[in-house]
Amino acid sequence: MLKYILKKLLLAIPVLLGITIIDFILMNLAGSPIDMMTGPKMTESVKAMRAAEWGLDQPLWRQYIGWLGEILQGNLGYSYKTFQPVSGMIVSHIAPTLLLMGSSLLLGLVIAVPAGVYSAVHRYKKRDYAMVTTSFVFSSVPSFFMALLLIYLLTVKLGLLPSSGMITPGTQGSAADVLRHLIMPMLVLGVSMAGSNIRYVRSSVLEILEMDYLRTARAKGIGRFLTINKHALRNALLPIVTMIGMQIPMLFGGAVIIEQVFSWPGLGLITMSAIMNRDFPVIMGVCLLSAVVVLIANLLTDIAYALVDPTIKY
């Protein structure tokens, strides 16, 4: 098992390097961050000095090697805009994002698993069609539009929930306060994830329900509930594990937009402003982080697979 994990880790390294290289090239295609600096003090000589200080006057590959060298020493660099260390910015913004992602993932599963199983068990009945159609509608609503609708409904019309931020300004922010702020963004992300997940759970349960060993179980006269719970669900666990793994990059992306709409003070918010300002070190830091997160998610999926499925050799 350890060997298997080690092998997967080794395989992830070139992928990670590749991602950062693509990042680096893409970002530099966007143009120099120096162009974004304006102001009376920004004369040509100051600009040139800044460029030299940040190593922007060097060829791209040397910049990349330099960046990589710093990363290996644990230094993510400093923001061009706020001059703060990138690692510090990430650390201070990661908790809200993780909170948002984690709770949305959970909500997505809590909706999708029962709904998907229900749909599969009642397949080709009206209930099933209704459920599948609902799931399609869920995944067809643009997340920002859903956010607008929720804000319109819950904030503007009913005045129930705050529409932006994580804590009420001017307060210390109790857990209840954070929760009130969390509900809408979580709902939007969770529901749009549940959309595709319902169909995923449904089809994996269906596939398993059609297998012979389940027919055998049913023929043995084991009750319907027991059949589904004991035999089907355990094996349906595998695709669900995959589903969670696949969801991580989507969640990360979704969070960027949702954080923007709800001004949720997470990584998405600083990413957007970094992109707007060509704040290279911040962009690279966030990209690296998200790539690592995604690769770890993949690795965990593989390991979970190996643990759940005895037929997989490693």
Partner: protein
Amino acid sequence: MQSSGFMPVVRRFCRHRLAVVSLFVLLILIFMAVAAPLIAPFAPTKPTGAFSKGPTLKNILGTDQVGRDVFSRLLYAMRSSLLVGFMATVISSAIGVVLGLVSGYFGGWIDKVIMSFTDMVMSFPYILLVLVAAAIFEPGLWSIILILGFVDWPGMARLVRGNVLSLRETNFVKSDRAAGMPRRYILFSEILPNTIAPVLVNATSIFAISILDEAALSYLGMGVQPPTPSLGNMLGGAESLTILTTKPWLWLPAGVTIIVLVTCINLVGDALRDALDPRNTLR
């Protein structure tokens, strides 16, 4: 066994009544978008009357902040959104199919290189990639098409590769090799036609996703730029609280259109998957 006739597919598709309705709605919407210049009562970028007026007989969906007719803009917006979705789908499908075919058929190091590249693009948070790309290029209709086209292909490439891998092991491909048939014949005459069904189904979901992505990007101001209308940038105005609360005709129609459009595409794609699935015989 896979069935080959066209009619059974149509018959199986028609079993999904909701999908038939969706197809119908979709065709109407596409027709309206294509025929926008003929249908639209006003030019989409010219002021026609009062600013920000609610729906009237003259402007059935009202006017926007600079007095343009919302209904006309909506028609043209559908045009750009559908164009973006369609072109992005074509580009990414083409890339995905070619890479998948090559990767699956030739195998070896070519496969390894292509697949690790695919993994890289896949493990990249999608929106992040799109945003960075959008920041690079001048935002606009064609750059958004290119960005989405060059980002959406990994799923397709994997799908096609998987298909080719299993087709490559079928006896009819082995028979071809035994008969000394050339590689291009095996690839294009035997393997490709058998991957069209899953490719088509996957393309519908790319189509749906592209429309959603265009909307998100344009909403953030990084997609189709005003004054050219798109479903996404029409929603952009709703960020302001007064519009959101007092002028729903400015944002509701565009939002509803996106939902209807994407839902219809998804439902059609789902029915298509069912209809093209070789394991489904008429029940």
